[in-house]
Amino acid sequence: MSVTKTPLPACSVTGLRVVLGRGGPDVVDDIAFDVAEGEILALVGESGSGKTTLATALLAHTRRGARIDAGTVVLDGRDLLAATPAEVRKRRGSEVAYVPQDPSASLNPVMRIGRQIREVLDVHHAGTPAERTARVRQVLAEVALPDDDEFLRRYPHQLSGGQLQRVALAMAFTLRPRVLVLDEPTTGLDVTTQAHVLATVRDLCARHAVAAVYVTHDLAVVAEFAHRVAVMYAGRIVETGPRERIFRAPAHPYTRALLAAVPSVTEPRVLEGIPGSAPSPGRRPSGCRFHDRCAFREPECTDAEPALVTIDDSEVLARCRRAGHVRAQPLGFTVASPDGSAGSAQRPEPVLRVRDLSARYGSRPILHGLDLEVGRNECVAVVGESGSGKSTLSRCIGGLHEEFDGTITFRGETLPPGARRRSREMRKAVQYVFQNPYLALNPRMTVGQIIRRPLELFGLARGADATRRVHELLGQVMLPPALHDLRPERLSGGERQRVAIARALACEPELLICDEVTSALDVSVQASIVTLLQELRESRGLSMLFVTHNLALVRSLATRVAVLSDGRIVEEGETAEVLDRPAAAYTRRLLKDTPGHGSELRHGGHESR
């Protein structure tokens, strides 16, 4: 390995353009970047930005209906997009490899792990059979998985999510490609597993001088993992440059707005959403594609699309006419204590009290003797990894899970298990907002019907009165009245979640249970939903139980935190107290693995070479 020379570009992309159909609108356009050996480039963007389309185009692949229209992807001095199909197949895997988002869907469930990895070598006729077997074991060791026969004989369903992702990584790495394309590989993994997988990727790229293109929407991961960042919006790269520079002084208003939407685990930021939503291909505005949502907009921004140019002699390139001005503005986050009463020893009277709650699924115990209180107007966050039982807890309280012992009291009355056994008054006062807004609304009903139903069910309003209430509620969750007659399929994820919140509010509840309500949403949408929930808690005196795995979000939203591990609460207290001075070892580990925590900005890669 050579001593200190500028790393060669392992992959060089110029003028890449992917369109829908023949002569249709572009999905991504005018994409150009280099990735050096051993470098990790993060492609950041919200859903609809075209980042996944770009990632697969690096392997000369497009989704059905889309087509690569122009551009080059140069690997090893040769353009992959100009290659014949046979050649492309040969070069995929050996020169550029892909790690998918969901390994449980991309691994063949009836094929053993060893066979599955070996298939990559077989397809490419690499080495002798003995060498192939040896290579399979070697690559498993490289991704920190066991390499014994027992493991090779396992099927995908016998592995955990993190292990599956490592297997996918091993498959991509088997032929030692020069470029690795990773498509949100840690979405859906717990923070601890995510931290381990990321460490493995970083280590592999550094050790074998592999370039990585890492597609993600998680800026916190980028902040500690990538060397360079390319921010995508509406099919364009709007800003690219070294990570530290972009995070310290973003030159594009979109990057700036994204950063303002990211919660921080170290301070309770007031999160700011981006107004509007990302336009889909064919509906993108003329001129600067971000102008309609931009806080720095000038009349000239609608005229022509700015080019991606170097800003102020730095290594940062941005696509904004006012980049210099934007860059000069300090990145000030509004930091506030989440509640006026924080710090005072007085807790409000408890609305919800959980005593000695033990829940099970069949014979499998999930929760073990759990105590929890939610005070009036408090927001109590329940955090924990998947499998910790946090959803079971919220489902017990919400009346969706009946197999439990112990007592749940609400305003002094015992809540029986199961919503059907509860009184109307109880069902009305305790409302549940679900994780996935795409499943939480009946696709065959209009928004108006969905919000109206609880009003009629609980006899709160009828006829014209109910219609007026529905419009009021739409206003309270900041949705335009025009949505009233639409069905959920025409709504974006954030809009759907607002409708779900409006449905809960229609009941005039006292306790709102929010089960991971933002985990399916983009960070800018998450910010606005969290702000909305904050406002509603303030204005309506709501109490909230907020279930999440995102510790940073907790900091911005919750007054108190309960940390759940293996069905037990290991720590409970005021948010600042728990996150700043964690008492339990488990909390400390969670905090350490949470991306963006403290000064955990490691540089990895280049230095260790």
Partner: protein
């Protein structure tokens, strides 16, 4: 405490709604096969219902010699008794069509109700309902029908009930499968936490979300019903042995296939075209539901 001075930031996520996907049933109407199927079905049903009024002769009038393919004033010749084949064809469809439609509707209602109940209740109710379905399914449809008809005699209501019941388990299986998938969706759980009644959840939350596959199933069951009811007629279980009936006509005239083919071909074609038509409609709906006929203009 500067938090709540910036409350109007929560407007993100509001924009023009994305382009509407084509609704499934309208998608089905856009496909050629649905139209062809609809036209064929309408044609045969029209013949069945209007035919009796248009027939030139009475269904039991003797108009010429038996098995004559050129008797005067006949279009398709005469049958085994010298009755007019064309008139009997026009008169003989009502029984098949009406019985098949009624049996299908009964089978759909029973099957959907059983499937919804089983799939939503789970547990022992699910077991009982589905095992009963298995028992019914264990008999070949035609054998089950014949056994019951031989015991109770050829009554139309009995044919409807028996054919309907023999369809129900198949519909129930499909419905149960969809119900178990939908019942875990969060919008159903949301209705549960609100305390909606079970009936309302089944009928208002679950059923509308299955309309396209159930319509396709309806078309398919109708196809089978036509075949089954025609077979029952062929075997002589239609209520009036002298009345014209497509199934029975095939049986009556089968000896003279070589001499007077129209006496058989005419009812066979009527039944075949009806079955083809209903099948094409079913196919059109299920293809539209699966999105097979058009590639989606997806967004990234």
């Amino acid at each position: 405490m500067a938090v709540f001075e910036v409350p109007r930031k929560a407007t993100a996520g509001i924009a023009a709604a994305p382009a509407a996907r084509r609704p499934r049933l309208r998608g089905a109407l856009a496909s050629g096969r649905t139209w062809v199927g609809g036209a064929l079905t309408t044609l045969v049903t029209g013949v069945a219902f209007l035919g009796p009024f248009l027939a030139p002769h009475g269904e039991n009038d003797i108009v010429g010699a038996p098995y004559s393919d050129s008797a005067p004033a006949t279009l398709l010749g005469t049958d085994y008794l010298g009755q007019d084949v064309w008139s009997r064809l026009l008169a003989g469809g009502t029984w098949v069509v009406v019985t098949a439609v009624l049996a299908t509707l009964l089978g759909m209602v029973l099957g959907v109700a059983a499937g919804l109940a089983a799939g939503y209740a789970r547990g022992w109710a699910d077991e009982v309902i589905m095992r009963v379905c298995d028992v019914i399914l264990a008999f070949p449809q035609i054998v089950l029908v014949l056994v019951l008809l031989s015991v109770a005699g050829p009554e139309r209501w009995l044919v409807v009930v028996v054919v309907g019941v023999s369809h129900a388990p198949r519909v129930a299986r499909l419905t149960r499968g969809m119900t178990t998938g939908l019942a875990t969706r969060e919008f159903v759980q949301s209705a549960e936490t609100l305390g909606e009644s079970r009936t309302r959840i089944l009928l208002r939350e679950l059923l509308p979300n299955m309309s396209a596959p159930l319509l396709a199933e309806l078309g398919l069951r109708l196809t089978y019903s036509v075949g089954l009811v025609a077979s029952i007629g062929f075997l002589g279980f239609a209520s009036d042995p002298s009345a014209a009936d497509w199934g029975l006509m095939i049986n009556e005239n089968r000896l003279a296939l070589a001499v007077q083919p129209w006496a058989i071909l005419a009812p066979v074609l009527a039944i075949a075209v009806l079955a083809l038509g209903t099948n094409l409609i079913a196919d059109g709906i299920s293809r539209a539901a699966a999105g097979a006929d058009h590639t989606e203009g997806a967004s990234s």
